[in-house]
Amino acid sequence: MQDIDIADLKKITELIFQKYRYDFRNYAMSSFKRRVLRILELKKLNVETLLKKLNDSPGFIYEFLDELTVNVTEMFRDPGFWRILREEIIPGILLNHKQFKIWHAGCSSGEEVVSMCIMLKEMGILQDVTLIASDLDTTILERAKAATYTMKNMELNEKNYIRFQGTGNLKDYYTEENGVAVFDKTLLANVSFRKHDLVLGEVFNKFDLILCRNVMIYFNQTLQNEVLKKFHESLFKYGYLAIGSKESLIWCDYASRFIVVNNEEKIYKKIKD
């Protein structure tokens, strides 16, 4: 396996920033390096040929982005988290608003969005919720819109759903066609999928709940701070932010504007503007 040094990684991030305006300069080094090495291996490239390809073939950037971003996810990942959402967080929001808005920031292939819609439907409030699902990678957004997943992954999704203790059966929401699970599109009727870059993108709306789980682990501390600032601005006062179970805000400057409402599942509430 080839190795790659920091100077070469910098050349790559600079080229992408200058030419395509995607900013990976503040990504966490260990995972970013692994992602780039993985692309070199998959595409049979070395640093020189990768730089050349990024420079000379404009279409290649989309392929690059799709491989660079980590798109490993599950439905109802951490079932305990989803139970807390259903039993505490959403009822808390409903006390004040009958209608509310959710943002899935970095939605990847959409498993979390589908899970959310299933949960809201089972709670009988799907029609009252507006959802926005965003990602940097347009290829993966198309997959999220399609809401079709290989049957191979459904075993794990079913297990998670059972541990979430949904009111029905996950099979109620999809049909199997040629080895893929095709989810009922009406589930996603209130979801807008949009391309959005957390690093360079502007704040575009206000939400009652933002989910950004296992996304900021790919950012360094500086970038985490900046992104948290954007989330803070994108939340109504007393809105909620959910991050991954092994993430923490305690090293971020903006942490003092939030309180932890569930430490186990890492759900925070904005308490200060």
Partner: protein
Amino acid sequence: MNKFNLNNSYKAVVIGGSAGSFQGMIKILSQLPKNFPLPIIMALHRLKHVRHGFVEALSIKSVVPVTEPYDKEPVKKGGVYLAPANYHMSVELGHTFALSTEEMVNNSRPAIDITLGSCAYVYKDKLIGILLSGANKDGALGMKHITDKGGLTIVQEPSECMIETMPKAALALTKIDHVLKVDQIVEFLKELDKQYK
């Protein structure tokens, strides 16, 4: 008497293990010298969807409580860390932990190769890598990275392992400094500790 010819230049100990490594790991942690001077960073194969129980089980007998670090948590001297369920765990150049949900490596998440490889990159020749019993080849490549950067490598004596595949894969792939039984690993760590006192 300095049997292993050690010195006090090391900055971290990283340990990988899989099937059959639990008892050995418990023994090592329960006999760890008090105020052990280095961080101990463990990547052990575990059930992906069971977040609780493992760290508690390791902590019961451990001299130092074992924790599963958060992403960006600083690596502290004397801390004993376990890669959390369903995350890969790396160390960054600034000596903080970095977690990731990337694809499984060697059918594993956490993967031992990722933890060992990142530690080798960060600590270079100031790293001690230990690989215990296990049923697949995860960790062998990581041990090679440690050797290549000049670190010190130890595998559990295959004849003592419940499943010898993992240490044997490392022995086949790279130079290993010591092949030791768990009791000898304990002795090694005690001797290492003395270099810092």
